[in-house]
Symmetry: C2
DNA sequence: AGTTGTCCTATTGTCCGACAATCCGACAGA
DNA sequence: TCTGTCGGATTGTCGGACAATAGGACAACT
């Protein structure tokens, strides 16, 4: 998509059209966007402005090609951009594409790519979790409904009774965090959170498998947190979630995983 | 890109290959990924595994087509996906594409699309800022270098001396937050933060233009925060950043903007 | 030396046209 | 009501083509 070029603010404003100083070029670069970008931007704009809504089926490629007066291949390239951004998608086994809002998983995977490639380490992610998760728990304590409570209980239960050798225990941990996010009723935090748990998952899995007492500690923490959320006790929820996340770091130490381990794929 | 299908955890595990119960289907759906996805996934994998590094030039489309044994159009569709994800990019006026790490702006714009389309409101974003920004300020207070301090001061100065009627004052506010993020030395938080400020910017601009005293209050807050960061006083930094962000909401009230205003494009 | 003009090659952006696979809906048959 | 069959619509992929231009190499000029 066309990334909105964050214009360099402040500085370099005064020297307008007088002399052609090197640092303040006289001319702006002439814009020459390829057609596939224009097409994708045009469709993107219609989606963001709700002219095309979630669930609408897009016109067929040939028809789009006719409307834009470009070749079908060009339209297809534009569609691939939108598809990658999660703005359009194809229900499994369907032919036409439909407009969609980017799912959390899509956003999260984009974020994860960025984190991986920017050499973000475990501590970085953990630190972010230490910032976000306790507050989310506090919000959840205030806003939770019975449904949220059930979901939390279910996730905790699933973790407790999880077979010892199943490598997917970490998925259930993620489920707990996700349920907590849902209870917080804040979509922004949910989105941010999901990226964090997703990024942490692989190394967290190793930690859980390596440290014997980890499971018990996690289960205990989850129980305390749920109790606080049940009682709508925000402070307790915050406190225990804080302990819970902090415990991850202890776990990493015990597992001998360096805090500077980069987030893996 | 191929979003890693979060496998449905817990539940529906026991009933394996015995009877064909409706909830535990006997067969997995047969995978039929189009070629352009495979190509894009293959390249993506090479990038994430660092076999292709930031700055490397990709082989030419024709060559990729030969290697993958597909048509060039197919390769191009794959490249459009990667381009949209920010994993490859083309320096302005260059011909070949180069491998790149997704810039913050790219990730942020993806997040913003999601927020807009999920009808996220001003309070949601504001709430997330209330969670993140104070802690970022606290971290910055501990870790800031002189360079960070200079950047912060410069941003604050730029805001103070900004022409009254210039509509881009909000960009300078964003710059301040960005500098604070840099000082916190946590890339994860920086990424999350940027999405928030970007999402808030349009309405924040309206607020600043509508409420006369907003500029003064913002300038004051920035000064206090910088002072705390300068003195490496984390608690003060947190406290004043908290006040600062909270003030945004007051501003919105004064400007008559409803907290439920959806984030616009 | 530094600049400018010329030529060539590699590569991209875009187009044309084609064809098999298959999704979709309709419709007939059991 | 369920199951085959059929035709049209649409996608995935391909082969090939061509103009535009980025990147070099090299000569000509100041």
């Amino acid at each position: 998509m066309n990334t909105p070029q964050r214009k360099p603010p402040a500085r370099a404003r005064r020297s307008a059209a007088g002399a052609a100083t090197a640092d303040a070029p006289l001319f702006d670069p002439v814009e020459r966007e390829p057609a596939y970008i224009r097409v994708s931007s045009a469709i993107e704009a219609k989606i963001l402005s709700r002219a095309l809504r979630d669930g609408d089926v897009l016109p067929a490629e040939t028809e789009l090609a006719q409307q834009f007066r470009v070749h079908r291949s060009t339209v297809r390239e534009a569609l691939r951009q939108l598809e990658s951004a999660g703005l359009v998608t194809r229900p499994p086994g369907a032919k036409r594409m439909i407009v969609s809002r980017p799912h959390a998983a899509k956003v999260s995977s984009g974020m994860r790519h960025a984190l991986v490639l920017h050499d973000v380490t475990f501590v970085d992610v953990w630190e972010a979790m230490m910032v976000i998760e306790p507050e989310v728990a506090a919000l959840a304590a205030v806003r939770r409904t019975q449904v949220d409570l059930d979901a939390l209980g279910q996730a905790a239960e699933a973790f407790k009774s999880w077979p010892k050798d199943d490598p997917h225990a970490v998925d259930v941990v993620a489920e707990f965090f996700q349920a907590m996010g849902a209870a917080s009723r804040n979509k922004v935090l949910v989105l941010a959170k999901q990226s964090l748990t997703d990024a942490l998952a692989p190394s967290l899995a190793r930690m859980i498998d390596t440290v014997p007492q980890a499971r018990q500690r996690i289960a205990d923490a989850q129980r305390k947190i749920i109790a606080a959320v049940r009682d709508k006790n925000a402070d307790e929820a915050r406190k225990w979630m804080s302990k819970h996340v902090r415990d991850f770091q202890r776990g990493y130490e015990l597992a001998g995983i360096s805090p500077d381990t980069p987030i893996s794929v």
